[in-house]
Symmetry: C2
Subunit: 128 residues, 2 copies
């Protein structure tokens, strides 16, 4: 199938699929007309990439996951390690954002938000 259909089936934009080929994540066949030609396996990989990217793995991590996926002899512990590490990172991000949220909410709460110029938000930004 052409890239358009592979895009439709995988959920990835055609531009992204070409980019993934550029960086060596997938290697589709080519037809006589020079068009890329994707098989069911390729679409499978693209869906794998789409899913793991949307779960917060970087492209390089996706490359590793894909390699693990294709390595029939790998231990499931290898994969679990990556997922656990990623889980820790996500936890940290959530904590940071929650702290950020708390601070910002305090500022918003403190500001009366009217036509007058005095603003506790700017004062805090300026001094904090």
């Amino acid at each position: 199938m052409n890239i358009g259909e592979a895009s439709g089936r995988s959920g990835l934009p055609a531009k992204t699929i070409r980019y993934y080929e550029d960086i060596g994540l997938i290697r589709p066949d080519r037809g006589d007309n020079g068009y890329r030609d994707y098989g069911a396996d390729d679409v499978h990989k693209l869906r794998f990439l789409h899913r793991s990217r949307s779960l917060g793995f970087s492209v390089e991590e996706c490359r590793q996951l894909l390699a693990l996926y294709e390595d029939k002899s790998r231990a499931s512990a290898d994969v679990k390690d990556m997922a656990t590490t990623k889980l820790t990172e996500i936890d940290r991000k959530i904590r940071e954002l929650t702290e950020l949220r708390r601070t910002l909410e305090q500022l918003v709460h403190a500001c009366h938000g009217n036509e007058r110029p005095d603003c506790p938000i700017l004062e805090e930004l300026s001094e904090g």
Copy 2:
């Protein structure tokens, strides 16, 4: 003062301070030797930028905040609007990350993580 001291006092790397000058956020004086020369006002602005960046505002938003900060006639409502919008964005990010976390945790939990190759994480990535 030189950029090194401004960096120390504001908490921003010298590279970042030069970058902020490149994009027109600050305009320090120059000494006879060509060195940038920062005053107390500049450091104040740099700290403002540091603080608002760390609160999740983009550089362009920081530019607006700085303009509001320097506009003595602005209404505090203008600032409150920006902060409230940012708060909403942060809430959305937290929700998304929490959902991500939940999914990933389920996967990690489902995987026994041993020496054998069967791995529910990869299976889910592949089919999900």
